[in-house]
């Protein structure tokens, strides 16, 4: 019924690492929640259900806890119910998560032959005898990745995460998405055996697209929590890049490279859990003080909220993959496994993988831009609203939560070898190969597995940076230089909150460069003085980005459904003669298609009969346009 192998234990560990600091934060946050009992019941239910999923030993338990996880998180989104957009977001989340659940259910019904209580080993036998393994793979991908928020099933994240209370967003983004990654490991290794090469390529492509799309939409966001939610899409994409490379290498019988890539994916899952939870906590503290999610109303918060600001800075550096942080190390590993593609023989694959390298590198660059924007606009400069002016540091419990989570970030940075050992145990269980000693011959330096691979020494880098910074600081102190505080030089004008750069302005060049993707709605209104175009006293500029996938995939399908239902509606209001005509047409089409598809096929009759069908439908059914 339950399973406690290394993979499960690892993910239990991940969940506990994410949950424990979150508990502190959550209790600090509790006084601001109106429906306390509702919140607490679902909060603990959510945690237990996540633990339940990762230790589930059969399909029934897995599905039970999976559904419980969905329902409790859905109720948690509905905690602050006053807001109308919350209800909409929760409905969207409910729909998306059950869309995934249907596929998981189908998957399990096939691999268990209907008996949901058999264990994974028996499922593996049934799955290996199933005639269409790729169908099973697609079910698993649709079911799990709609939960993980991978493009194009990511649209619920930027709605659901901002609507939930901040500790819940931290849990959902940091931990719940990783449960889906656990599912991917469990399903692919324990249920679906002999993979095809194309599966890995599909995962790789999904990862590359998600990482780019996530970070690009994050850049255009002004809602701080929606921005972080978009970054979750990006980071899940990065995890999938590692995972996809692992699958490709394993299909090509390169087990050491594969183990390295899977370890990279696991490491990035841990890192994303740590820094994303911390970022959501920081965003929650800011939101709690300023009462708004709009970044344009922040500014200068570092002076009032130093602990929030510096923990947020640590997480920002880490998520931007800058050395020597943990985020850099896992992204480095994923780069190394992409570079391992040099030892693939298949030339077309070999030529395609540099595009993933390109996607990952561009993602890294844009993530830096994005987190400069978030940190700079939120915490630096002058306050842009009165609430930001009167903000002060959050309560001790919330601070404890943030500090504990930043300790998790730091521990991932300092004790990389220890975590690697854990991941090595898991890949050892899955692939029957241990590469820890190749990655860490000693604890100081971390080696890549691929030929011509690189080496990085996180601890030496950290020590070097600290020593150099301190020595420059010592020189500065020994020189005993005077300093004086004065106004910012703004070419003779006064500096005010309105003259500094806004988040919209900061992302301006990038938004303009990627106009084809953003397709922004720009509104620029100004009150000109005496008809001079360049002289105006009051101006407002607003820009709204319309997400491409939501527009093309979701809204257009809604539009088409509406159109179809209009015809169905018309169908229901025909007069009797039309019904008779319809029956006649259906009869005709059945006869014709029997003749064409079953009896004998010829293009001439097909053409002739189609013409007859079209005329008959036009004349009898549609009739004249009124």
């Amino acid at each position: 019924m339950f399973i406690f192998d290394k993979l499960s234990i690892l993910f239990v560990f991940l969940i506990m690492l994410g949950v424990v600091p979150n508990l502190f934060y959550s209790f600090g946050y509790l006084p601001h929640i109106k429906r306390k009992v509702h919140y607490l019941v679902h909060y603990f239910g959510f945690i237990i259900s996540m633990l339940g999923v990762v230790v589930a030993g059969n399909a029934l338990v897995f599905l039970l806890f999976w559904e419980l996880m969905s329902l409790t998180s859905w109720q948690l989104i509905l905690t602050e119910i006053e807001d109308k957009s919350t209800i909409k977001a929760a409905r969207f989340y409910f729909f998306m998560t059950h869309f995934g659940f249907v596929f998981l259910l189908l998957f399990f019904l096939i691999v268990t032959n209907g008996n949901l209580e058999i264990d994974f080993n028996s499922m593996k036998i049934i799955a290996s005898n199933f005639a269409y393994p790729t169908l099973l793979f697609f079910f698993a991908v649709l079911g799990l990745l709609s939960k993980a928020g991978v493009v194009p099933m990511h649209v619920w994240l930027p709605y659901a995460h901002p609507a939930a209370p901040s500790p819940v967003s931290a849990l959902m983004s940091g931990v719940m998405l990783k449960v889906a990654i656990y599912g991917l490991f469990r399903f692919l290794f324990d249920i679906l055996s002999d993979w095809q090469l194309e599966w890995g390529v599909l995962i790789l492509i999904l990862g590359a697209i998600s990482s780019l799309v996530g970070v690009l939409y994050a850049l255009s966001e002004h809602d701080i929590k929606a921005l972080l939610a978009n970054h979750s899409i990006e980071n899940i994409g990065i995890i999938l890049l590692g995972f996809g490379m692992g699958m490709i290498f394993l299909s090509l019988k390169l087990p050491t490279l594969s183990a390295f890539a899977f370890m990279a994916a696991l490491f990035h899952s841990f890192n994303h859990m740590s820094f994303k939870s911390l970022l959501f906590m920081g965003a929650g503290s800011v939101l709690h003080q300023t009462k708004t999610k709009n970044m344009e109303k922040y500014g200068g918060l570092i002076k009032a909220m130093p602990i929030t600001a510096f923990t947020f800075l640590l997480a920002s550096i880490s998520i931007s993959a800058l050395p020597p942080t943990n985020g850099f190390l896992s992204e480095w590993m994923i780069f190394q496994s992409l570079l391992g593609s040099a030892s693939i023989d298949n030339i077309s694959l070999k030529l395609a993988i540099p595009f993933s390298v390109f996607a990952l590198a561009l993602t890294g660059g844009l993530a830096i831009a994005c987190f400069v924007k978030v940190f700079g606009i939120t915490f630096l400069g002058l306050h842009r609203s009165t609430n930001a002016k009167h903000a002060h540091e959050v309560n001790a419990m919330m601070k404890t939560g943030m500090i504990l989570m930043s300790l998790v970030v730091v521990s991932l940075m300092l004790f990389t070898p220890f975590y690697m050992k854990l991941f090595d145990g898991v890949t050892g269980q899955l692939l029957h190969i241990s590469i820890y000693n190749k990655i860490f011959p000693n604890i100081w330096s971390m080696h890549s597995i691929s030929d011509n691979g690189g080496i990085v020494s996180p601890l030496i880098l950290l020590a070097g940076l600290i020593v150099l910074t301190l020595s420059i600081y010592a020189i500065y102190k020994s020189l005993n230089i005077k300093d004086r505080v004065y106004h910012t030089w703004a070419c003779g004008y006064n500096t005010s909150a309105k003259t500094q750069y806004s988040a919209t302005g900061f992302a301006g060049p990038i938004r303009r460069f990627f106009t084809w993707l953003y397709n922004p709605d720009e509104h620029f209104e100004k009150e000109v003085i005496a008809g001079h175009k360049t002289k105006f006293k009051d101006a407002s500029f607003s820009v709204h980005v319309r997400p491409l996938f939501e527009r093309s995939l979701y809204q257009s399908s809604v539009k088409w459904t509406n159109k179809m239902s209009y015809y169905v509606y018309r169908l229901a209001h025909f007069e009797q003669s039309r019904y008779a005509a319809m029956i006649f047409n259906i009869l005709l089409s059945v006869l014709f298609s029997y003749r064409i598809f079953v009896h004998e096929f010829s293009w001439a009759t097909l053409a002739l009969e189609s013409v007859v069908m079209i005329i008959s439908i036009k004349v009898l059914l549609i009739g004249d346009k009124k």
């Binding site: 200068g300 561009l362 002058l382 910074t469 005077k482 910012t488 500094q500």
Partner: protein, 306 residues
């Protein structure tokens, strides 16, 4: 080990000379009376004696960030390829880490721009974020390609491998990677087609806009970070793409290395005199060329093996 320390000190010594040298060459070419090559040192000593003026709108970041802009770049100096054969070099840090360290320095520079609440700072940060986001993929792809020709991703080992076995069979992809890296050298150091280091015009400035509010020692830190960044890129360029002269006797090897650095500086200066600064939204085209050359380099290496 002595040579290693000597080479680091040499690079630190040469760093302030490079911008002044480039300016000197440019002024000479424009028929102006050239400045002294030691102008950089004079500027630094002047900045040392001045007091620091800190804007009252700023936060702790302004007091921390200048140190963190300089220290990753100083750390990178320790990881550069050797300039003399037999010299100690760092083998435990690879090219990706170096690009990461450079990005770390840029990250704090951009925060610095936003800290003073001036519209110039934000303007500079925003532009720098845009440019450096597009530099990143070209950089990684170029390094990927070079690492395959040099058979190592570590910059030090790659420099030695390339000088021992010049990749004459892969000359096409080698040259493509070289072109790409040279464009990146210009873009990352804010030289003319991308940024003009000499003006303070809001239409054009990128790097200068971010540091407009710094003075005294903090400005010194940022300025020296700028010159050290140039020397890092120049020495990586000459060690990887002009890998000659490493095996000469010590003194001549060092002289050849310095000469190569100055040749790179002359090339950049010549380019600056002959090209107008690009509009900000034309810069992606230039960086796009770098990305395309990096891809070409990889593809020719894989497909043609040339």
């Amino acid at each position: 080990m002595i040579l290693y320390i000597f080479s680091i000190l040499l690079l630190i010594f040469l760093a302030p000379l490079m911008p002044s040298f480039m300016k000197m060459v440019k002024m000479y070419l424009l028929y102006k009376k050239p400045i002294s090559i030691f102008q950089g040192y004079r500027d630094f000593s002047k900045l040392l004696s001045k007091e620091i003026i800190i804007s009252k709108e700023t936060s702790a970041i302004t007091r921390i960030a200048p140190f963190l802009v300089l220290s990753p770049l100083l750390l990178t100096l320790f990881f550069l390829p050797p300039i003399v054969s037999g010299e100690y070099y760092v083998s435990f840090v690879d090219a990706f880490t170096i690009t990461g360290l450079i990005s770390l320095s840029t990250f704090f520079l951009m925060l610095l721009g936003l800290d003073s609440a001036s519209s110039f700072g934000g303007l500079g940060s925003s532009r720098e974020a845009f440019i450096s986001a597009l530099v990143e993929p070209a950089m990684i792809l170029t390094l990927f390609s070079v690492s395959m020709m040099a058979k190592n991703l570590g910059i030090g080992q790659a420099g030695i491998n390339l000088s021992l076995h010049f990749p004459s069979s892969h000359i096409a992809s080698f040259i493509f990677a070289g072109i790409s890296f040279f464009i990146l050298l210009i873009a990352e150091n804010g030289r003319i087609p991308v940024d003009n280091p000499e003006t303070h015009l809001e239409l054009t400035m990128v790097h200068e806009a971010m540091i407009l509010d710094l003075s005294g020692f903090y400005l010194l830190l940022i300025e020296s970070a700028g010159s050290i960044k140039f020397i890092i890129f120049a020495s990586i360029f000459v060690s990887l793409f002009v890998p000659f002269g490493l095996n000469l006797p010590i003194v001549s090897a060092i002289l050849v290395f310095i000469a190569k650095l100055f040749i790179v500086a002359i090339a950049v200066a010549l380019l600056e005199v002959n090209i107008a600064k690009l509009r900000l939204f034309k810069v992606p085209n230039l960086l796009g060329i770098a990305i395309v050359f990096a891809f070409l380099s990889l593809i020719t290496f894989y497909v043609l093996g040339a």
